[in-house]
Amino acid sequence: MSRVPQIVRGFWVTFSTMFKKPNTENYPEQKDKYPPKPRFHGRHQLNRHPDGLEKCIGCELCAWACPADAILVEGADNTEEERFSPGERYGRVYQINYLRCIFCGLCIEVCPTRALTMTNEFELADQTRESLIFEKQDLLGPLMPNMVAAPHSMVEGTSERDYYQGKISRATDAQIAEVAARAGINANGQV
């Protein structure tokens, strides 16, 4: 082997590689071809109960657990007029700073209500710092069928316990009507 000139040995690597299967992934043209694994730690999502009320109770445990100090939460009282979550307390301010987050997932581990989970979404590059601080409205999960957006009352005759025991399956007609009426109020600015 040592008698083969250096130059031939060098080019042999180049030559043999020409016959190998390429490893290149055509991102972003073909990104669906290699989706992340289901347990990949991507962007967070704030989940909703099946009737659309928010699961987050503003307890700040996620903020406490976060080793990167990426989360800011401020709790507040639910009132009869404006209810965002079952029970007394909800997260009024919710921010995750993706310039800080290291996607460790400790926050979702501690969340006592499973309000916070992580999606597989990883495309989080952007131009400005501000746009990488996600607010509550950016993080809230989409409204699935049979959900109406908070604020609205709990399902008639239920307590927060029923929510945690999974007894709520969808928004009731009364809730849907309530939200519609509220939207009406807002749309034409009258009481």
């Binding site: 109770i57 307890c59 700040e60 903020a63 406490w64 401020e74 009282d77 007394e88 307390r89 006592p112």
Partner: protein, 778 residues
């Protein structure tokens, strides 16, 4: 720090096989603390009597069959104690108790305000079992009192013991028994206490929480800064918790010499004024007669020009809320820059007798009577002073002393107040204005302390009588002002004729020294003593002044609000340093925003004469102190005072030596009013400007009533519950009459509560003559 030299008897015992010596009477739990052994506890509190209610602190004591509560048992010679550290029995017992406590505990930590700073959470981790064997239904309670979550209560009785022992207010009690035991308030006794916030702080669980702080933060969000309360002269050490530049809450900080571990609800909750409605930019009155936002440079320039032009006819009205450094800066600015001695901090009613009293007895006198002295005194006499309203920590300390049975309290006041009752005080019911003879008749000795309040200034001869009485009997005398900055203002020389640290302006050597320290020519300082607040107002009303510098004065405090406003209106040029827009803003030519206490560092001097330093809690607001603003104005007037930051001012003030020639003590004869008089003082929770924006606090204020003796009422055909009209030549107030156990020929009104705005509506002070009649329409 006073050192008690009485020898203590020591007891030797072993705890976890380690021998310790502790004073006789020490509780086992405290002895263990000295070894660094933390026995779990809930009900135990060093300032409350032991009850052994929670049983969390069980330890093994050799020779006793069952584990014993270490918080209620005192040490004995040769005792052998084993805590959870060395005894399986104690450890198992503690874990068992913890398991029982958690059976009925909701464990809703995520929505609980105590989460993160909860002794139950912590001790369940350190001294509890990982798992519970309970799988039944937990108890639940309806929630009638908004801020109480009774299912979280561990029945430690800390709140009820505080209410009963420390405050003496029947606000809260343990009701029912067994698992239904719960804290509650009784239906027929109103929840009425100035100290309820303390129960929130000492509750070892989240059963009592603050409506204000509810859900707003977690301990790890908070930056805690040691501060001093700005609301009264008690001088409480408070912990101010800041989140992102905003005050979230204030807690009592442990200071055994002053407030122990307590404070009052005003200090705890009255902080929204820091955030809301603040003045953020200088304002300058333009050609059009309206105030316009201006740059600092422009505003300072206008202020400097205006003040310079008015030279020789300027005066300074200062208010009693300043730190001693700012008060000193104002005192210096008046003399060295404006060349006037017309300067006074007493926006409230005052007298020349008081000026003399403060200059001769109080100014520069340093630490006098202390809280510890109150606790040891055999007899405490309250003269024209209502501790519960005017200096709540004195009330708590006196109650502590009285409960020990060694101290007796006598109050010379118009009627028996709820505060007096809690002190078991002997009340010498005295019509307002007649205090002098009541005081003179008392037989006092050297073990007595006389506390005189700020309203003594309105009773001619009273301060003279108190000084004389103290001298004759050997009793100690202390003046207890109401505002946190009053004592500091006296020491800084914010009084006509008074230089810093008790030096007299008319003493030429003291004046020379001052000129030297201030780096100005001796002849620029005023020679003769100036006018006091009232005289300044009077002169201004008559148009004798060309310029006024006003800082932190509430027009509503002054003897007659309307004349004060008139005075400001009649003065051509007015510079006002303010934290929030007020009625003075409307009349000022230049308005300069300044820092509130939480935004600056400084020192308050409490009623004892004890300096209470504090650091800056909020840095984010970028506000200037009064001292800095005045330095800028001085600069623009070509008088260089330096930066005038807190450190410089403090150092400068310290250069003023104690006076060689003191002002003479007052000698005023009594001048007894002839007729029905007004008795009045400010209630702790009232309509004061710094208490704005706090509805939960306002809700704890007392009912606005006029208190009078039933005979006096009968003489004016007034029945209890009638509306009565109290009037002077300047106006009237109509409120409900309530009969009180007090002197005849006097009627009591709160100074600044609800309809009862004594200064604005009556223009009257304590001891002034008023007329009453039934009426005002039912």
């Amino acid at each position: 720090m006073t050192i008690d030299n009485t020898p203590v008897e020591l007891v030797t015992l072993t705890i976890d096989d380690i021998e310790v010596q502790v004073p006789k009477g020490t509780l086992i739990i405290r002895a263990a603390e000295q070894l660094g052994v933390q026995v779990p506890r809930f009900c135990d509190h060093p300032l409350l009597d032991p009850v052994a209610a929670c049983r969390a602190c069980l330890v093994e004591i050799e020779g006793q069959a069952k584990p014993q509560p270490s918080c209620a048992m005192t040490v004995a010679e040769g005792m052998k104690v084993r805590t959870q550290v060395s005894s399986v029995m104690a450890d198992e017992a503690q874990k068992g108790v913890m398991e029982f406590l958690l059976i009925n505990h909701p464990l809703d930590c995520p929505v609980c305000d105590k989460g993160g700073e909860c002794p139950l959470q912590n001790q369940a981790m350190t001294n509890g079992r990982g798992e519970s064997r309970f799988d039944g239904e937990k108890r639940e309670f309806e929630k009638p009192i908004n801020v109480s979550d009774r299912e979280r209560c561990v029945s430690c009785a800390r709140c009820t013991r505080f209410a009963d022992q420390v405050a003496g207010d029947p606000m809260i009690a343990l009701l029912e028994r067994g698992s239904q035991q719960q804290v509650g308030i009784s239906d027929d006794q109103p929840f009425d206490s100035y100290f309820s916030g303390n129960t929130i702080q000492i509750c070892p669980v989240g059963a009592l929480t603050s409506a204000k702080y509810r859900f707003r933060s977690r301990p790890f969000d908070l930056v805690s800064v040691p501060t001093t309360c700005e609301h009264c002269a008690s001088g409480c050490s408070l912990r101010t918790d800041i989140r992102r530049g905003n005050v979230m809450r204030r807690l009592a900080w442990d200071d055994p010499q002053v407030n122990e571990e307590w404070n009052c609800d005003k200090g705890r909750f009255a902080f929204p004024y820091v955030q809301e409605g603040r003045l953020n930019q200088p304002l300058v009155r333009g050609e059009d007669g309206l105030l316009h936002p201006a740059s600092w440079t422009e505003a300072i320039d206008v202020a400097a020009k205006g003040l310079a032009a008015a030279s020789g006819a300027t005066a300074v009205l200062a208010g009693g809320r300043h730190t001693v450094e700012d008060a000193y800066a104002i005192s210096k600015f008046a003399r060295a820059v404006l060349g006037t001695d017309d300067v006074d901090f007493r926006s409230r009613p005052h007298s020349t007798e008081e000026t003399q009293f403060l200059s001769s007895v109080v100014a520069g006198s340093g630490l006098g009577v202390t809280y510890a002295d109150l606790e040891k005194a055999a007899h405490v006499v309250l003269v024209a002073f209502e501790p519960e309203d005017e200096s709540p920590m004195i009330q708590l300390r006196l109650r502590k002393a009285v409960r020990r049975g060694r101290t007796k309290v006598t109050a010379i006041t118009s009627h028996v107040t709820s505060g007096n009752k809690k002190l078991n005080a002997t009340v010498i019911a005295t019509a307002a204005g007649h205090e002098v003879s009541a005081l003179s008749e008392l037989a006092l000795d050297a073990n007595t302390i006389i506390l005189v309040g700020e309203r003594a200034a309105s009773v001619t001869g009273l301060l003279t009588a108190a000084t004389k009485k103290a001298k004759e009997s050997g009793a100690k005398l202390a003046w207890v002002p109401r505002r946190a900055g009053d004592r500091g203002a006296v020491d800084a020389g914010l009084l006509p004729g008074l230089l810093p640290n008790g030096n007299s302006l008319t003493d030429s050597s003291a004046r020379e020294k001052a000129a030297d320290i201030w780096n100005v020519e001796n002849n620029t300082l005023p020679f003769a003593a100036g006018r006091d607040f009232g005289a300044i107002v009077h002169a201004a009303v008559n148009g004798e002044l060309k310029a006024l510098l006003i800082t932190s004065v509430d027009v509503e405090d002054t003897q007659h609000s309307a004349s004060t406003l008139q005075a400001i209106e009649n003065t051509p040029f007015v510079v006002s340093l303010e934290i929030r827009p007020s009625s003075i803003t409307e009349l000022a030519n230049v308005v300069l925003p300044v820092a509130v206490v939480t935004e600056k560092s400084g020192t308050f001097i409490d009623w004892e004469g004890r300096p209470r330093n504090f650091g800056q809690a909020i840095r984010e607001h970028n506000k200037l102190t009064d001292g800095r603003v005045l330095a800028m104005i001085a600069d623009a007037m070509d008088v260089l005072l330096g930066q005038q930051d807190v450190a410089q001012l403090r150092a400068e003030l310290a250069q003023f030596a104690a006076p060689t020639n003191r002002v003479d003590a007052p000698s005023h004869g009594a001048d007894v009013p002839n007729g029905l008089t007004l008795s009045t003082w400010n209630q702790l929770i009232d309509d004061g400007a710094l208490q704005e924006g706090e509805p939960f606090l306002a809700a704890t204020s007392r009912n606005v009533i006029a208190g009078l003796n039933s005979k006096t009422a009968a003489a004016h055909s007034i029945a209890e519950g009638d509306l009565i009209e109290i009037s002077t030549s300047l106006g009237s107030i109509t409120v409900e009459a309530i009969f009180v156990d007090g002197a005849e020929n006097t009627v009591w009104l709160p100074t600044n509560s609800g309809e009862s705005k004594v200064r604005t509506n009556l223009g009257a002070a304590h001891g002034n003559i008023v007329t009453i009649k039934r009426g005002g329409g039912q």
